[in-house]
Symmetry: C3
Subunit: 324 residues, 3 copies
């Protein structure tokens, strides 16, 4: 519960209505209650949106549509993001190091660090101040985790990885596992020991069950502000530039370098040893097999059709090369 005045201040908006109106919850426009705050970006189809909400965040030009308490801002979606921080329930993580955690005497643990039960912190690991580590986490020897980062439950960080400050690493992620490298030796495959590490910048988010392999010789590098969704696979020696955002289930093969401020859609696949420029958008389910040197939007995905029609298309597609 908090007042509309508090929220307006947080989002730097102009309050129209009752500053003492108390908000119970932040809600979507269709599910809102009379004590709810919602937001309106103008993108919803019905011309006259209706809502039960007691208050709404919106742009000046939409104010007339909502005859209730209002917070006027330039970017309602950003304001919603900012307001959402006020509604987070206090963390599950109790302060301090659980007596059921196993912390090496050779590790360095900063102030105000939380470490959950059944977590292991290895020799010479460095955990800076304010880091919160969940339960069942493995932080290997010589791993470095900078201040304010949150490591959720069951995460594995190994291979002397370096994690920046103010990151969130979600449950089940594996950072610093061995890259996939082999040399042929007759019919057998000779493993190549992976001697590099993973370096993650500040303000990076890593999704649940995402995997990031350590480098073979050089390092795998995730720059500041990168956001990675769930079940992404990042192979050894990859580099991802600042503020690039990658949706779920994307796979990036070894030694590829991706620029800054890219947006990569879900389930995209990017082959190895490529260079992708800055400001590139790759649509969902697209395969990238060559360098991309120009900013812009790239695609190769095929939307579903009725299977009956698709099979006819496919019959022609599979013989296209014969024509002419």
């Amino acid at each position: 519960m908090m007042t509309l005045a508090t929220i307006a201040q947080k989002v730097d908006g102009q309050l129209e209505g009752d500053p003492d109106f108390t908000v119970d919850a932040l809600s979507s426009i269709h599910m809102a209650c009379s004590r709810c705050l919602t937001f309106y970006t103008g993108q919803i189809r019905p011309d006259k949106p209706t809502t039960e909400a007691g208050a709404v965040i919106l742009k000046p030009e939409h104010a007339e549509l909502f005859p209730m308490n209002r917070i006027i801002v330039a970017d309602p979606y950003l304001a919603y993001a900012q307001a959402s921080q006020l509604f987070v329930q206090e963390s599950e993580q109790s302060p301090g190091v659980s007596p059921h955690a196993l912390v090496s005497e050779l590790a360095s643990i900063g102030d105000d660090v939380g470490i959950g039960p059944f977590s292991v912190i290895g020799d010479q690991a460095v955990i800076r101040h304010g880091v919160k580590i969940g339960s069942g986490v493995h932080v290997g020897d010589k791993v470095f985790i900078n201040s304010g980062t949150v490591i959720e439950d069951r995460v594995v960080i190994t291979g002397s990885a370096v994690i920046g400050s103010e990151c969130v690493i979600s449950a089940g992620a594996v950072i610093g596992s061995s890259g996939f490298g082999y040399a042929r030796n007759g019919r057998h495959w000779q493993r190549i020991e992976q001697l590099g590490r993973v370096e993650i910048g500040d303000h990076v988010d890593v999704g649940a069950n995402t995997t990031i392999d350590r480098g073979s010789l050089d390092n795998t590098v995730i720059e500041n502000g990168v956001k990675l969704d769930n079940q992404i696979q990042i192979a050894h020696n990859v580099r991802i530039g600042e503020n690039t955002v990658i949706a779920g289930c994307v796979g990036i093969a070894g030694s590829t370098r991706i620029g800054a401020n890219c947006r990569i859609g879900g389930r995209a696949a990017i082959l190895g040893h490529l260079e992708i420029a800055d400001d590139v958008d790759i649509l969902a389910n697209t395969l990238v097999s060559k360098n991309i040197v120009e900013p812009g939007e790239y695609a190769s995905m095929i939307p579903a059709q009725s299977a009956r029609i698709w099979r006819k298309n496919l019959a022609v597609l599979r013989k296209l090369g014969q024509s002419g």
Copy 2:
């Protein structure tokens, strides 16, 4: 070991042969031994199927093909499924709460609950009677798990998720992790705190290393009877209707609603903010990018060809839009 009579009763079939025949194992038709029970659905190519099995489950019209002990049923595959339950080895889970588990004093634990070593049960979590929880599981604060559900090893359930009764959550699954939501703030991405939760109905199965994110404002909802295979990614605010079955490696983006009784093939991808009707079949490796309003079969997958032929097809495909 059990008698054929016991099995015939379990599958509600008509026994022809020795009711006291003892069965050592349930087997596939080609690997069966003389003390094995197998089943025949009629789908195997060779006209005269041979088997070493001492007993077989089959349809009336195939009885003549198998001159051994028989159990006659209308649906041999369903009968096999039912019979399989008799052959499960007793669970690894010893009864009771392991002294090596950490259960909050503020949690509510029902009768006949098993909790494995190194598992953590948070404050105000509710675990109803008969729930079996493996080792190394994290059940967060305020999570609710209804009766008879099995939570396998290393599962993480967080974000106040609600799990129904008689579910099986396989190892490594992560339920209730943060959805992937950001608002642009100049070059940076402002995290949107995810305030909803995951609600899972009864008789739902979730595969190994599958991830289900909690909702941003509303909830992510998996209805009764849904079956999810391994390594599926379900984003925030998704809703999946009753008895829909989804094969491995499928990704479903945020806020999409999938109907009841759908079948979604492996590696399919479904974009965000879509509506998929009931009784829709989506073939493997298909991308869905628009609403599907009619029941039926949908596809966009391209089967492999010889790479030499495929490259010729591709050369034409990449210029199709120029023709005409």
Copy 3:
């Protein structure tokens, strides 16, 4: 730190230069320091490669290009792989069984076994000599792990799985989870209990967060020398032949048999109940929906284009079946 003479002996190469030259690190050609050893395979574009390295592994025909300490070999990439083993830092795993592990009294533990904290070893599990098990690992009842195998942190091995010798199972992998099998029972899905197990041969590597389901009746089999990257999904009853190597994010559906010495590119999908011959190469992002009986290269992947051009191609593609 070691001498060039030691390395030359390890890779069975001919040393040209100072045998007492001490090497600090193995490095890529562009990042090398004066105390670094690098390797040159001839595949780098610039005709006159430059490096700061103090020593290089290369073929006889490239010796003239590098006027420093040299190790001459027939296959520099293989020699690099062999040399990499000399530069691995000693394992994090302290020897012996952690007092914080929980090992069943009914398990059999060989000599020189390491078991990390918060790991669980079940009844009748057999862990042979020299096996190293990380932290938070679950080894279920009756699981067998042969000598010299490494099980990294947070792995789950269950369902009476058999793991060969000298394997590496990376963090977060789940081996032996229940296969995905159901029989229709009206609108509901009747679970088929999965009674088989997973059998993994010797010298098999399994990547981080990869999942391998146990068989329904027969077993899921991974033969000797198979290498599996991260986030691969292998369904029940699959068989993978010797020395086949599979890149990240591949999915293989139930009961498919893959031959020996195949190479399967990242994100490929292989449908169920198929037979793939030996020596088959499947390119990245390709879908296999039919048997492959001839060795060779197979593909169905579509590389990204500018989205503007792709949409034009797509408009024609979606109506191909109408033409003619």
